[in-house]
Amino acid sequence: MPRHRPILLFCALLGITTPSSAEPVVVVNAASSVVRLERDEVVNIFLGRYRRLSTGAIAQPIDQPERSPLRADFYRRLVNKNVNEIDAYWSRLIFSGKTAPPLRTVSSQEVATLLAGNPDAIAYLERGQIDKRFRIVLEFPR
C-alpha cells in the first residue's frame, strides 16, 4: 500500500500541528443513553460481530466515506488495519448475508446528519466537528 503512505504521513503531520481538532473520536447521539464504550465494544459494533448495546438497543454504526482520511485513521487507530484490509474483511461476510457493514456515507456532513437524527446511531468524527448534538464515548489515546 505505498499509495497511502503520503496520507499517513500527512495525518501524522496534522496530528502534530493540530493536536486535537482532526483526530477521530467515537460519538453517539446526545440523546442516547450510552455514555461510555470500550474499544472492544466499538470493534464489535463496527466490524459486525454484534451490535446490541448494554442498553438493549441495537446500535447502528455509520462509516465515513470510503476514501476519507478520517476513515483510514479511525481503523488504523481501532484495529491497526488499513482500509483495504477492512474492505476485504467485509467482502467475505457480505456473501453469507448474516451481518452487514456500517452504513456507507458520501461525506462527513452526511455522517453528522445521520447521527443527529438517530439516537441508536454510533459514528466517528473529527474532534473538531463535535458539538452539543453529540456525545463522545471513546477517545483514542494519543
Binding site: 466490524l47 460481530r49 484495529v79 488495519k81 474483511y89 467475505r92 456473501f95 453469507s96 448474516k98 451481518t99
Partner: protein
C-alpha cells in the same frame, strides 16, 4: 581309510556345504528382512503420521484467515463453506468449527473409525487481535487413507529388500561354489583315489597356493607324510620285533650258558637245553605237562646253599653270584657258577656256567706260581715260601732248624752256548733227579733260576752232617752226563748256611748262602763252602766300595797319572802311559787294582773310561800346544769293548780337542781279545782304521798266541815287567825277552819294555834291539802337572845312561 567306501559327495546334496550355506543365508536374509521390514513399517508409520499432521497443518494454514473471519463474525455459512472445502482433501475425515459460543460447522465424509490420536485441534484468533481467541477448529484425518499409504510404503520397502537379499545370496552361493566348494570337492575326489603309501600327494588347486585351501592341502600332504612315515616305522618295528624274538629264541636255545627262571619257593619254571645239560635234567622233561621242578632236587653237593642264595637274592633284591658244586650221574663233581638276578614278581633269572675247568686252571696256576715248569721242582717263590714257613714254625716251637744249600753248576753256560738250550735242559733235568736222590723225601729241592738250585735239609743243624750231605751232592754232580750219547763232565759249587745258627730271617739266609757259593766259585768251583762272617764283611766292603766309586765319579776324585816312555835309540822322551789314580778322601791315593775289578763288575768302568779318555785328550792337547809330539797310551778293559769305549766315542773325543788319533794309543790285554774274538776284532779293526794305535799289554803272561798277533791290528807289544825284572846275563828270561823282541821286530811291531829299574837292563834291552822302555829307572807315574819337571829329569837320566 575308513571313508574309502563313501561315494563322492554331490555338491548340491542337501547336507552339502553349499546347500547349507545357502539355506543359512536365506534364513539369515529372511530374519534380517523381517527385522528390517518391521523397522521400516514402524518408521513409515511414524513418518506417515507426521506427514499427515504436516499436511493437515498446511491445509489449515491456507484457510486460516477466512476461518478467523468466520469465527469472529460467527458466520456458520462461511464456516460450512470452509469445512466442505477442507473435506475435499482425501486425508480429512471430519471437520468441526467452533466459535466461542457454539458449533459453527460439523462436517464428516463417511462413517468410520476416527483416529483420535492424530486429530488436529487449532485455536482460531480474531483477525483484528492475535491474542483474542474467537473459536477453534478440529480436524480428524482418515485412518484408512493413512494405513493404505503406510501399507504401500512398507510393501515397496519389502520388495526392494527382498531383491537386494536375493542378489546377495546368489552372489554368495556363486562365490562359495567357485572358491570353496569346488576346490574342496576336487580335493575330496583326489583323496578318494589317492594312495599315500605309493607316494601320491594332493596338488594345490589353481589360484589357491596362498589361500586357506592351499594351506589345507599342504597340511593334508604333511599329515600324509607323517602317517606314511609312522606306518613304515611301525612296520619296520614289527619286523624287527619278529626277528628279535626269533633271535632271542635261538639264543636261548643255543646258548652255551644255562639259563633258567626260578621262583622264591625254589621251583624251576623254565630252562634252556644248556641248563638241562648242566643240571642233568631229563631233556624230555620240559615237553611234559609236568614242567616244574624244585631246584633243591638237583644233585647239589650242598642243596641248602642254592636255596639260601635264592632267599638272599630276593631279600636284597640284587644279583647274587656263587660257585656251587653239583654231582653228575657218574658221580663226578662239577663247579657251577650261578648268577641269580631278580626280575620282579618274586622271580629270579639264573645264569649257570660250568667253571670246573676254570677252577682247575686256577688251582694249577696257584701251583704254577711256586713251581718250575722245566723240572717240576719248586721255584724261587716256592723255596722262599717254604723257608718262611719253616722260620715261622721255629719261632713258635723253637725246634726244627735246617740247612740251606745253594748250588750252581760250574761252567754251565758253556753247555748252553756250545750244545744248545735243549742239551742244557736235559742236563738240568738229570741234575734234578740226582739232587732228589741225595735228600730225604721231606726235604725241599728248588730251582731258583737257570742253573741255580736251592736245597733245604730239614733238621740238619750240625755242620759235619751238612758237610757230608753236600759232599754226597758234589759227588752226584760230578757223575758223567750224557747228551745225545755224548759224555759231559760237570761239577758244582755249593754255599751252605745253617738256620738258626747263621741267620734268623729268610733274606739273610739266602744272601749268606749266596755269599758262600760265590766264595766257592771264586776259588775255581767244584767245592762247597760254609758261610763265614768274613764273607759277609767282604761283601759289605764291596758294597761300600761300589758306593764310594759312584761318589768318586760324582766328586771328581779320579786323577790321571803319567809314566814316561822313552825312546832308547834317540835317547829322548817320546810319550807316556796314562794310569788312573783315586784320591780317596779317607784312604788317600788308591791304585787301580783295588777298585778296577769292582768298577768292571758294576759297569762303572764305562764312565770312568770316558773320564780317562777326556783327561788323556786334554793332556795331548796341552802337549800339542807346547809343541811336543808325545804319544799317550791308556788302558782299556774288556768291559769297555765294544760299546763302553766305542770307536765313535774315541773319534768324537779327539775331534773335540782337535788332536791327531795317532797320538793316542789304546792298551789292551790278550784276555780282552780272547773273551769274544769276533766282537773284539771288529772293535780293534775300526779303532785302528780310525788312526788310533793299539798296544798289546802284559805281553808274555797269557797265551801270547802268534796267530792272534798276526790277525789283530796291533802296533806295539809291551813286554811284561816280570820278564824285564828277572832279566839277567845268561838267564833264561833274558833269552825269552830277546825272543819276544826279535819276533816283534820280524812282525814289524814296536816293543816297549815295562818295569825297567836298572841301568844294566837298559844296556841289555838296547843290545836286544828294544826301542822303547818305561820304568822307575826313568820315572814313577807322576801327576800331570808334575810331568814337565819329570821330563827334564828323564832327559838328564837318559843323558847319563848314554854318556
Amino acid at each position: 581309510m575308513t571313508n574309502a567306501d563313501h561315494a563322492p559327495l554331490d555338491p548340491l546334496h542337501i547336507r552339502g556345504l553349499l546347500m547349507r550355506s545357502i539355506l543359512a543365508l536365506i534364513l539369515a536374509s529372511l530374519l534380517a528382512g523381517l527385522a528390517a521390514i518391521a523397522h521400516t513399517a514402524q518408521a513409515t508409520r511414524q513418518h506417515a503420521q507426521q506427514t499427515t499432521q504436516t499436511r493437515l497443518n498446511e491445509l489449515l494454514d491456507t484457510v486460516e484467515s477466512t476461518l478467523r473471519v468466520a469465527c469472529f463474525a460467527r458466520d456458520a455459512t462461511l464456516a460450512g463453506e470452509l469445512a466442505e472445502g477442507l473435506l475435499s482433501n482425501s486425508d480429512v475425515l471430519s471437520v468441526r468449527i467452533f466459535s466461542d459460543q457454539a458449533v459453527l460447522a460439523d462436517k464428516r465424509r463417511h462413517a468410520g473409525n476416527e483416529l483420535q490420536a492424530m486429530s488436529l485441534r487449532r485455536p482460531i484468533f480474531s483477525p483484528f487481535d492475535n491474542h483474542q481467541q474467537v473459536g477453534e477448529i478440529l480436524l480428524r484425518p482418515d485412518p484408512q487413507v493413512i494405513e493404505a499409504r503406510i501399507r504401500d510404503e512398507v510393501w515397496f520397502a519389502a520388495i526392494q529388500l527382498a531383491w537386494q537379499l536375493g542378489m546377495v545370496a546368489v552372489a554368495m552361493a556363486v562365490i562359495m561354489l567357485l572358491f570353496i566348494v569346488r576346490p574342496i570337492k576336487a580335493i575330496s575326489d583326489r583323496l578318494h583315489r589317492m594312495d599315500p603309501t605309493a607316494g601320491e600327494r594332493l596338488a594345490t588347486p589353481r589360484r589357491h597356493a596362498g589361500s586357506e585351501i592351499g594351506q589345507l592341502v599342504y597340511d593334508i600332504n604333511a599329515l600324509s607324510d607323517r602317517l606314511v612315515g609312522a606306518l613304515a616305522a611301525e612296520h619296520q618295528l614289527r619286523m624287527q620285533r619278529e626277528i628279535d624274538e626269533r633271535k632271542y629264541h635261538a639264543i636261548f636255545n643255543n646258548a652255551e650258558s644255562g639259563l633258567f627262571i626260578v621262583d622264591g619257593a625254589g621251583t624251576l619254571s623254565s630252562w634252556n637245553p644248556a641248563c638241562a645239560r648242566l643240571f642233568n635234567i631229563d631233556p624230555q622233561r620240559g615237553d611234559d605237562e609236568y614242567t616244574w621242578l624244585h631246584v633243591a632236587l638237583l644233585n647239589w653237593d650242598s642243596p641248602e646253599r642254592i636255596t639260601g642264595m635264592i632267599r638272599a637274592a630276593l631279600r636284597e633284591n640284587s644279583a647274587m653270584t656263587e660257585d656251587l658244586l653239583i654231582v653228575d650221574q657218574d658221580g663226578d663233581r662239577h663247579w657251577m657258577n650261578i648268577v641269580l638276578s631278580p626280575v620282579g614278581d618274586n622271580l629270579l633269572q639264573g645264569v649257570v656256567h660250568n667253571i670246573s675247568h676254570l677252577k682247575e686252571a686256577e688251582a694249577s696256576a696257584r701251583q704254577l706260581a711256586v713251581t718250575d715248569t722245566l723240572t717240576g721242582l719248586a721255584n724261587r717263590l716256592g723255596l722262599e715260601q717254604r723257608l718262611q714257613t719253616l722260620v715261622q714254625q721255629y719261632a713258635y716251637t723253637q725246634t726244627g732248624g735246617f740247612s740251606l744249600l745253594l748250588l750252581n753248576l760250574d761252567d754251565f753256560r758253556r753247555i748252553n752256548e756250545g750244545m744248545g738250550l735243549l742239551a742244557g735242559d736235559n742236563i738240568l733235568q738229570t741234575v734234578t733227579g740226582r739232587l732228589s736222590g741225595c735228600v730225604k723225601s721231606g726235604d725241599c729241592v728248588a730251582r731258583l733260576s737257570a742253573d741255580n738250585f736251592g736245597i733245604i735239609l730239614n733238621d740238619i743243624t750240625r755242620g759235619d752232617v751238612a758237610d757230608m750231605i753236600a759232599g754226597r751232592i758234589m759227588n752226584a754232580m760230578r757223575q758223567t752226563y750224557f747228551v745225545d750219547g755224548a759224555p759231559i763232565n760237570l761239577h758244582a759249587s755249593i754255599g751252605i748256611t745253617i738256620f738258626p745258627h747263621d741267620a734268623s730271617t729268610v733274606p739273610n739266609l739266602l744272601r749268606q748262602a749266596e755269599l758262600a757259593m760265590d766264595s766257592a766259585k771264586s776259588t775255581g768251583g767244584n767245592a762247597h763252602v760254609f758261610f763265614d762272617p768274613i764273607l759277609s764283611e767282604a761283601a759289605e766292603h764291596r758294597r761300600q766300595l761300589e758306593e764310594d766309586l759312584r761318589g768318586a765319579l760324582r766328586n771328581q776324585e779320579f786323577a790321571l797319572f803319567l809314566q814316561p816312555i822313552v825312546d832308547l835309540r834317540s835317547n829322548r822322551l817320546c810319550g807316556a802311559e796314562a794310569l788312573l789314580r783315586w784320591r780317596h778322601p779317607a784312604h788317600g791315593l788308591t791304585p787301580p787294582d783295588s777298585f778296577i775289578p769292582m768298577a768292571e763288575k758294576t759297569g762303572l768302568i764305562v764312565e770312568i773310561g770316558l773320564f780317562v779318555l777326556d783327561a788323556a785328550c786334554r793332556q795331548l792337547l796341552a802337549w800339542q800346544q807346547q809343541g811336543l809330539d808325545y804319544t799317550l797310551s791308556l788302558n782299556v778293559s774288556g768291559r769297555q769293548i765294544p760299546d763302553g769305549l766305542s770307536p765313535a766315542k774315541l773319534r768324537a773325543a779327539t775331534e773335540h780337542y782337535g788332536i791327531s788319533p795317532g797320538r793316542l794309543a789304546l792298551e789292551i790285554t790278550e784276555g780282552v781279545m780272547l773273551s769274544d774274538i769276533d766282537k773284539s776284532l771288529r772293535w780293534l779293526n775300526e779303532v785302528h782304521a780310525s788312526g788310533f794305535r793299539i798296544y798289546l799289554d802284559d805281553f808274555g803272561t797269557g797265551y801270547s798266541s802268534l796267530s792272534y798277533l798276526k790277525q789283530f791290528p796291533v802296533d806295539t807289544l809291551k813286554v811284561d815287567k816280570s820278564f824285564v825284572r828277572d832279566m839277567q846275563q845268561g838267564n833264561n828270561e833274558n833269552t825269552l825277552v830277546g825272543a819276544i823282541i826279535a819276533m816283534g821286530g820280524s812282525l814289524g811291531l814296536d816293543i816297549v819294555a815295562e818295569g825297567v829299574e836298572l841301568p844294566d837292563q837298559v844296556q841289555t834291552l838296547r843290545r836286544m834291539g828294544c826301542q822303547y822302555a818305561q820304568g822307575y829307572l826313568f820315572s814313577r807315574p807322576v801327576p800331570a802337572e808334575a810331568f814337565p819337571e819329570t821330563a827334564e829329569l828323564v832327559a838328564e837320566r837318559l843323558a847319563t845312561l848314554s854318556g
